[in-house]
C-alpha cells in the first residue's frame, strides 16, 4: 500500500515536472535555447490565478477561467521576450540563457513590487478538496486534477504537432531549420508561435501549481533547475523524451525520498542524471548534420 502511495506520489510529481518542462522542451528544441525566465512565466501564471480569483470570486469557476488565461499571459510574455531579445540572438544560444536569467531576475522583482513580497493564496475549489480513496490509496483530488491537466496538455500538444499544418511546420523547423526555410516555411513566424505555445504551457503550469504550493515571487526558481534536468535527460525536440524523463525523475525522487530523506533524494537524482549522461549522451544530441557546428 505504501508502495502504491509512493507510486502515485511519483507519478504526480512527474506530472508537475512535466508541466514545468513541457514548454521548455518545446522552446529548447526549437531554438536550442534554454529560457531561464520560464520559471517566471510559471509565476506569472500563478499570479494570474490569484488575480482571476479576486475578480471572479467563486473558486470553482476561477480555476477554470484561470487556466486558459494563464496560458495567454505566459504566452504573451514569451512573445514579448522573443520579439525584443531572443530573436536577435539565435546564433548565441548560451547568451540567451544568460539574458533570460536577467529577465527572470527583473520579473521576480516586478512581482515583488506589484503583489508584495509575502505569498498570496489561491483557494482550491470545493470540488478539488480532499482525496479519493482507491483500494486503500488516498489520491488527493488536486493531484489527480494536475495529472489530468498534464495529460491533456501533452495530448493536445502531440495532436497539434502531429496532425495540423502548424505542427508540421514546427516540426520541420525543429528538425531542419535550413531545409525548412529553403522550402518556404517562415521560420520567423514559426519561432514566434512555438515560443508563444511553449511559454503558454508555463502559464498553465503556474495556474496548476497554485493547487499545491505557495504563490510568491520566487515560485519559478523552485522548479527551474528540475525542469532543466528533465529537458536535458529527455533530449531535444521530442515530447516523448520529455514525458519519459519527467515521469522517471518524479518516480525516482519519490522513491529515493521514501527510502532516504528529501535532501539525499535530490542529490541522488542529480547523480543518476550525470551518470545517465555518461552512458547515453547520444540521448541528448540531436541528429548529426554534415556541416560542422
Amino acid at each position: 500500500m505504501d508502495i502504491l502511495n509512493q507510486l502515485f506520489a511519483g507519478l504526480s510529481l512527474g506530472s508537475v515536472l512535466l508541466l514545468a518542462a513541457l514548454g521548455l522542451a518545446l522552446t529548447f528544441g526549437q531554438m536550442g535555447v534554454i529560457n531561464m525566465a520560464h520559471g517566471e512565466f510559471m509565476m506569472a501564471g500563478a499570479y494570474t490565478a490569484f488575480v482571476v480569483q479576486g475578480v471572479v470570486g467563486s473558486a470553482g469557476v476561477s480555476l477554470l477561467v484561470a487556466l486558459p488565461l494563464g496560458f495567454l499571459v505566459g504566452g504573451v510574455l514569451g512573445l514579448v521576450l522573443e520579439a525584443t531579445l531572443i530573436h536577435r540572438m539565435y546564433h548565441r544560444p548560451l547568451d540567451t540563457l544568460l539574458v533570460t536569467w536577467g529577465v527572470a531576475l527583473v520579473l521576480q522583482q516586478v512581482a515583488r513590487d506589484v503583489f508584495g513580497a509575502p505569498n498570496v493564496d489561491v483557494t482550491a475549489p470545493e470540488w478539488l478538496s480532499g482525496a479519493v480513496t482507491v483500494g486503500g490509496v488516498a489520491l488527493p483530488k488536486t493531484r489527480l486534477f494536475i495529472l489530468a491537466v498534464a495529460v491533456v496538455c501533452v495530448a493536445t500538444l502531440a495532436l497539434v504537432l502531429q496532425a495540423t499544418p502548424l505542427g508540421r511546420r514546427i516540426r520541420a523547423v525543429v528538425q531542419h531549420r535550413d531545409l525548412a526555410e529553403a522550402s518556404g516555411i517562415s521560420s520567423r513566424g514559426t519561432d514566434r508561435l512555438t515560443f508563444f505555445i511553449g511559454s503558454g504551457m508555463a502559464g498553465i503550469a503556474g495556474v496548476a501549481l497554485t493547487l499545491l504550493g505557495s504563490i510568491g515571487p520566487t515560485l519559478g526558481t523552485s522548479y527551474i533547475v528540475d525542469a532543466f534536468l528533465v529537458v536535458v535527460a529527455g533530449g531535444i525536440g521530442q515530447i516523448k523524451g520529455t514525458v519519459i524523463a519527467a515521469t522517471a525523475l518524479g518516480l525516482m525522487q519519490s522513491f529515493f525520498e521514501y527510502s532516504t530523506t528529501a535532501s539525499v533524494a535530490k542529490v541522488l537524482v542529480f547523480v543518476v542524471i550525470v551518470a545517465f549522461l555518461q552512458v547515453r549522451p547520444q540521448g541528448l544530441v540531436t541528429v548529426r548534420t554534415r556541416s560542422l557546428v
Binding site: 500500500m1 505504501d2 502511495n5 509512493q6 502515485f8 506520489a9 504526480s12 510529481l13 508537475v16 515583488r112 513580497a117 509575502p118 505569498n119 498570496v120 493564496d121 489561491v122 483557494t123 482550491a124 478539488l128 478538496s129 480532499g130 482525496a131 480513496t133 488516498a138 488527493p140 483530488k141 488536486t142 493531484r143 493547487l211 499545491l212 504550493g213 505557495s214 504563490i215 510568491g216 520566487t218 526558481t221 523552485s222 522548479y223 525522487q253 519519490s254 525520498e257 521514501y258 530523506t261 528529501a262 535532501s263 535530490k266
Partner: protein
C-alpha cells in the same frame, strides 16, 4: 631574445609583489596562541557619537531576497517603535536617528552591513537579523567590535553572547511548553517534520529527548530542503505513521506546500493536529486559512492577546501601515527590543556598551505580550509561552498559557532530561 627580457621583467614584477606581501606579513599585528584569544578583547574603539541631540541606531533586516517576506514586517515594527520613542522624547533626551541597511537575505551581507553600521555609521546598537545563519554571521562582528545586537526572533538556543540580546523565545519558552501542552492533551506519539537547517534539527533533538523522558513515542522525523515544494512523500509518511500529533518546524514557503498537501490528503486538525512553531499571523494568508484552520501554534504573542498595551500596539501599527496588516510574534519582539534597549540605556544613564551590559539585568517592559524582563546573565528575556489555535478569521487565538513568564534557559540546564543535549 626579446621574449626572455620580457619574461624577466615579468618575474621581477612577481618578485616585487611577493616582497610586498612578505613585508605585509612581517609587519602585521597580533598573533593568537593556539588556545585562542579572549573573544571580548575587541581592538576597535567605539566611535559612537553621543555629543549631539541625536544618537544613531542601526536597523539591519533583509529588505530584498527570499527573507524579505518576513523581515520587512520586523523592520516596519522597529520603525514604529523608533517613531514612538522619538515622539516620547527620545532616549536620554536624544532623538533616535535610524540608519537602515539591507541584509539581502545573505549571511555574508549581514556580516558586511553590520561592520558598516558599527564602524562607519557608528551606531549605538543594531536591531535585526532573522535566520540563525544571519545571527551566526554577525556574532563575531559584534564581539570583535564590542557592539550590541538585538535579535528579535525565536531561535534554537545554545547561545549566549555578551554582545547580543535575544528578545525572541529560546527553546524552553517555546518548544518545551509546546511539548508540555501536547503531553497534557494526552498526546502519546509524535511525527516530526522540519526544514533541513539548524533550528528544526536542534528543536527535534530536544523533542526527542523530551519524548524519551515523558513516554512519548516519536514515530518519524523528516526534513525537507529549504524551498522544497513537493510534500506528497512526506505527507504519505506522516499518514502511514498515524501519530497523535505532528510537530512542525518547517520554514517559509514549505509550509504552504505542506499544509495544502496535508489537507488535500484528507488529514485534519481534529484527528491529527499539527503544532507549528514558525507560522505566525502574516504567513497564514499565504497558506490559505482553509488549509490551516484549527491547527496549533506555539509563540509568546498573538495579535489577539488581550492587554491594553497590545490594543495600543495593534492600533498604532494598523494606523501606520494599513488596516489589512497583522501583527506577529517576531514583530512584537522587535518592538520590545527597542524599548528594552531604551530601558537599559536609561537605567545605565549611558550609551556605552559596557554600561548597558552592566545595567541590563532586571530591566523590564510592559510589552504587548505582557511584562518581559531581561536576564542579565544570558541576555535573553523572560516571556510567557502561549499555545494558540488558528481561527477562521486568519488570526491565532490563545488556547493555553504558561503560568506566568518563563525564565530563559538557552542551554536547558534546568531540565534533567536535556542533560545529553549540549
Amino acid at each position: 631574445m626579446r621574449l626572455r627580457t620580457h619574461a624577466g621583467t615579468r618575474s621581477l614584477g612577481v618578485l616585487s609583489i611577493a616582497a610586498l606581501a612578505v613585508t605585509a606579513l612581517t609587519a602585521c599585528g597580533a598573533q593568537v596562541d593556539a588556545a585562542g584569544a579572549d573573544p571580548s578583547a575587541g581592538t576597535a574603539d567605539s566611535c559612537v557619537d553621543t555629543s549631539g541631540d541625536t544618537v544613531r541606531i542601526g536597523f539591519l533586516n533583509s529588505l530584498s531576497g527570499t527573507m524579505a517576506i518576513s523581515e520587512q514586517t520586523v523592520h516596519d515594527s522597529l520603525q514604529l517603535a523608533a517613531a514612538e520613542i522619538n515622539a516620547d522624547g527620545g532616549v536620554l533626551g536624544k532623538q533616535l536617528e535610524v540608519v537602515t541597511e539591507d541584509g539581502q537575505s545573505e549571511p555574508t551581507v549581514f556580516a558586511e552591513k553590520a561592520t558598516k553600521l558599527i564602524t562607519s555609521d557608528c551606531v549605538a546598537a543594531v536591531f535585526g537579523g532573522w535566520t540563525s545563519a544571519s545571527r551566526k554571521a554577525m556574532l563575531p562582528v559584534f564581539e570583535s567590535n564590542d557592539s550590541l545586537l538585538f535579535y528579535p526572533v525565536q531561535y534554537e538556543g545554545l547561545e549566549a553572547s555578551p554582545n547580543i540580546f535575544y528578545t525572541g523565545a529560546t527553546t524552553n519558552q517555546q518548544i518545551v511548553p509546546a511539548l508540555d501542552y501536547l503531553a497534557e492533551q494526552g498526546v502519546e506519539s509524535l511525527f516530526l517534520v522540519g526544514s533541513d537547517y539548524v533550528f528544526p534539527r536542534t528543536a527535534n533533538k530536544i523533542i526527542n529527548a523530551y519524548a524519551e523522558a515523558h513516554g512519548i513515542e516519536v514515530l518519524g522525523e523528516e526534513y525537507a530542503p529549504l524551498g522544497h515544494t513537493d510534500f506528497s512523500t512526506i505527507v504519505n509518511k506522516v499518514r502511514s505513521a498515524d501519530a497523535d500529533a505532528v510537530f512542525n518546524t518547517l520554514n517559509g514557503d514549505s509550509n504552504v506546500a505542506f499544509f495544502k498537501e496535508y489537507s488535500n490528503a484528507g488529514l485534519a486538525a481534529d484527528e491529527m493536529p499539527v503544532l507549528s512553531v514558525s507560522i505566525a499571523e502574516e504567513e497564514i494568508g499565504g497558506i490559505g486559512v482553509e488549509n490551516v484552520e484549527g491547527q496549533l501554534t506555539a509563540w509568546n504573542y498573538y495579535q489577539t492577546v488581550d492587554t491594553p498595551e497590545n490594543a495600543a500596539f495593534v492600533e498604532a501599527f494598523k494606523a501606520e501601515y494599513g488596516e489589512d496588516r497583522v501583527t506577529s510574534d517576531p514583530m512584537e519582539a522587535a518592538y520590545d527590543s527597542l524599548h528594552l534597549w531604551k530601558g537599559m540605556v536609561e537605567k545605565a544613564g549611558s550609551f556605552a556598551v559596557a554600561d548597558v551590559q552592566e545595567a541590563a539585568d532586571g530591566v523590564s517592559f510592559d510589552a504587548p505580550e505582557g511584562t518581559v524582563t531581561v536576564d542579565g546573565d544570558n541576555h535573553h528575556i523572560a516571556k510567557t509561552a502561549l499555545i494558540g489555535r488558528i481561527g477562521a478569521d486568519g488570526l491565532i487565538h490563545t488556547e493555553w498559557s504558561s503560568d506566568g513568564p518563563i525564565e530563559p534557559d538557552p542551554f536547558l540546564e534546568g531540565y534533567d532530561w536535556a542533560d545529553g543535549l549540549s
